[in-house]
Symmetry: C2
Subunit: 443 residues, 2 copies
């Protein structure tokens, strides 16, 4: 495969991202081809429904509903899987990789669930599986970790990785409105995935966290083994209290490595984060990732986490890397993007309950004498003490107690909540949020 002048690309899927890739290659074709020293030709597009209306016009003859037009065309070296889902996408990706093709994917669910098998297939067959667009849209976090920060080992990576959640939290904060009210707007703007749990229960962001944990630490973590909580329980009261105390509430993915203990913490949940942190001010649909390497220190990347153009910018970046490989480079070492940065044989995943953190609690209680004392007493019985407390009467005669704690263990939080929710004076199970402190991970 020496220095081809024309590189042939096949697309599986021609939805939002697929059309974006076509449109943006066309738009900057001259600059792009001059930069790469190659002609980029999308010669086949496989779709479910070839009659469907699209905003981007392509020649009829390259559209097909038959995956074999790509899979059985040996002239196609680069395959972009942009259909999503984990059934057909898995099948076609495997077939393409078995033929040694370079497969480019924006499919975080597929990589999260089947990455181990797919990266192995790529290596065994001399192909590659590239995935810049799968995490944080237009932010080049994969290339930055893998190449730019190759000198580093990563004690802490944390970030805002789901634009929809961030949009909802931002509107709740700015307008003081409820989760439900904001969600309605987000839905009508088309920001929420058809499967709403992906955005609202943190699953989409958790997929991305799993991918980054693999890249940085070489360990495949199962979704079921990590703590994954979405933003459904956040109230405007929580956001207001956070603000008064100097925090914002953000949905954070956290990957922390303790090199001494050789243990890895992988978590996804909303958290208080100090307004002084750069990521606290990443609002609306933007994503941001903070990376602390042992050599470079802390580097922060902020950008658009989703959308046709930002995502296709990352897909085209992967196409460019694939072209470089096809132009005569070997398939070895780190440019095999399918290799993680670390070997993980002995690396141990920390259990969610092992976290030490400060916490924020919201208790909905009967507005009776001694309730605060009672709750403080139960918490103290679990070795949890309050740092700040604020009580508020509600129109229905109940009260909210909102408190932050000193440092404690998550296991104690679980048991304290169990105890408290069974009290007669307690109306709802307590809501708690962790108070994120990057320093705690960096000592």
């Amino acid at each position: 495969m020496s220095n081809p002048k024309k590189v042939k690309i096949g697309l599986f899927g021609f939805g939002v991202v697929g059309q974006g890739v076509w449109k943006n290659i066309a738009q900057n074709r001259n600059a792009l081809e001059a930069r790469l020293g190659a002609e980029l030709a999308i010669t086949k597009i496989v779709v479910r429904d070839s009659a469907r209306e699209r905003t981007v016009q392509v020649p009829n003859e390259i559209i097909s509903t038959d995956p074999a037009t790509i899979l059985e065309d040996p002239s196609i070296d680069i395959v972009c899987e942009l259909i999503g889902g984990t059934s057909q996408a898995l099948e076609w990706t495997k077939q393409a990789l078995k033929q040694g093709k370079i497969v480019i994917s924006a499919n975080k669910a597929l990589i999260c669930e089947h990455g181990e098998e797919l990266f192995k297939l790529a290596q065994e067959n001399g192909g590659h599986y590239f995935y810049e667009a799968s995490v944080a849209g237009g932010i080049p976090i994969i290339k930055t970790l893998r190449e730019a920060l190759v000198a580093n080992r990563f004690s802490l990576i944390y970030g805002i990785l789901n634009g929809t959640s961030n949009y909802i939290l931002t509107r709740m904060e700015r307008e003081g409105i409820s989760f439900e009210a904001t969600l309605g707007d987000a839905r009508s703007l088309g920001y929420v995935e058809a499967d709403e749990a992906l955005d609202l229960d943190g699953i989409d962001a958790a997929h991305k966290v799993v991918i980054l944990a693999y890249l940085a630490h070489g360990k495949w973590v199962a979704l079921k083994d990590i703590l994954c909580e979405g933003i459904r329980s956040i109230s405007s009261d929580d956001i207001k209290i956070a603000n008064e105390l100097g925090y914002k509430i953000k949905l954070l993915g956290i990957i922390a490595r303790d090199f001494e203990q050789n243990s890895l913490t992988v978590r996804l949940h909303p958290a208080f984060i100090s307004k002084r942190e750069t990521l606290a001010n990443v609002d609306e649909v933007y994503n941001g990732v903070s990376v602390t390497g042992d050599v470079v220190g802390t580097t922060v990347l902020i950008g658009r986490g989703a959308g046709q153009d930002a995502t296709s910018s990352s897909v085209i970046s992967d196409i460019a890397d694939a072209v470089s490989i096809l132009q005569g480079r070997t398939s070895e070492a780190r440019f095999a993007q399918d290799n993680p940065l670390e070997d993980s044989e002995t690396l141990e995943l920390s259990k969610p309950e092992a976290l030490e953190s400060r916490y924020y609690f919201r208790f909905k209680v009967k507005d009776e004498e001694g309730v605060l004392a009672q709750i403080s007493h139960i918490m103290a019985g679990h070795h949890i003490s309050f740092a700040t407390v604020k009580q508020k009467e509600l129109p229905d005669g109940s009260a909210l107690i909102m408190a932050t704690t000193h440092l404690t263990k998550e296991a104690l939080v679980y048991s304290a909540c169990e105890a408290i929710k069974n009290e007669a004076t307690v109306i709802e199970a307590p809501v708690y949020l962790r108070i994120f402190d990057s320093e705690a991970y960096l000592t």
Copy 2:
């Protein structure tokens, strides 16, 4: 050069950065060599004084004062030029490139002044000239522009590119103290270069702006053709007024491309920047760069702009790219980091005086009746009108008038200043700062 297991590296210079490269390769050697699939061997180090004490211990036999030990050793494929300056560094870089070696540099002054010749030499001889560490220390801005955002053309790149200036401005803002007082502290902390003009007159940052402009737009801009102003004239009053109006003052490098007019604006000067901009909150010695691409939108990178470790992280990233090339990749296309992203034959550099902007002015005047009216009148005569005005008496009986203007042309600002400084009531030449508005560049 097929897939060498051992890659030999020579260092010119073993000061702060050179020792950092040695130390950090040693520290993460196992992870790094596994990632690269190659052994990294620094086999020669050329220094001025071989007897000098160093914090990093290296075997005596690899230290030499004779550049020929590197230049005439054909087994050395990668040469890191870490001596700085533009005389010996130029000579040795040219000799290494003539032999087809890959040269890695952190020397922004050299690239800025001689980059055109050096990149040409690299291409003619099948070598490369890599320079990630020359701009913004540990922030991977070169790789991000060149590779991650390869799909884009860049309408606006702006950033904080000099950590020392940023440190001084941050302390002035936080503590309300003068430039001189802060400068003393910065000096005693060793933050200020021996040649203070590099930091204080913006020259260091201007070097970096010139390099980024070349990379993104393919045009070598001469330092003398761009506006370059440092931070010496900033007073704590300026910072206070900025704060009241919702701005911070930052030393900004600005590279704006107008694709319709095919013109390029390259500037380096302190400016008011809205606190809402992410970069306004990049403080202390940190650097930050905001990149707006036509596909990806706006992406911001923040990190350590200088220092032994951050800089060596970038040098090692370049070493990794060099290893990839030596492992059998061709020297073509975009992995030739010496190619700019754009062809610039017809691209025109905008003149500094062509800028349209809002401005902040500080006038020191005699505290007499009608002075404000007189100044407003002269400004109006140059078609400049004030948006906000604040007047303050000084203990010496003079007064400060601090005003922001509506949109105007920089050429008119020059002529208005000329007129005003000759007025009998005006004690000092007016100080002005531009009010940066990223939106203005993006329409």
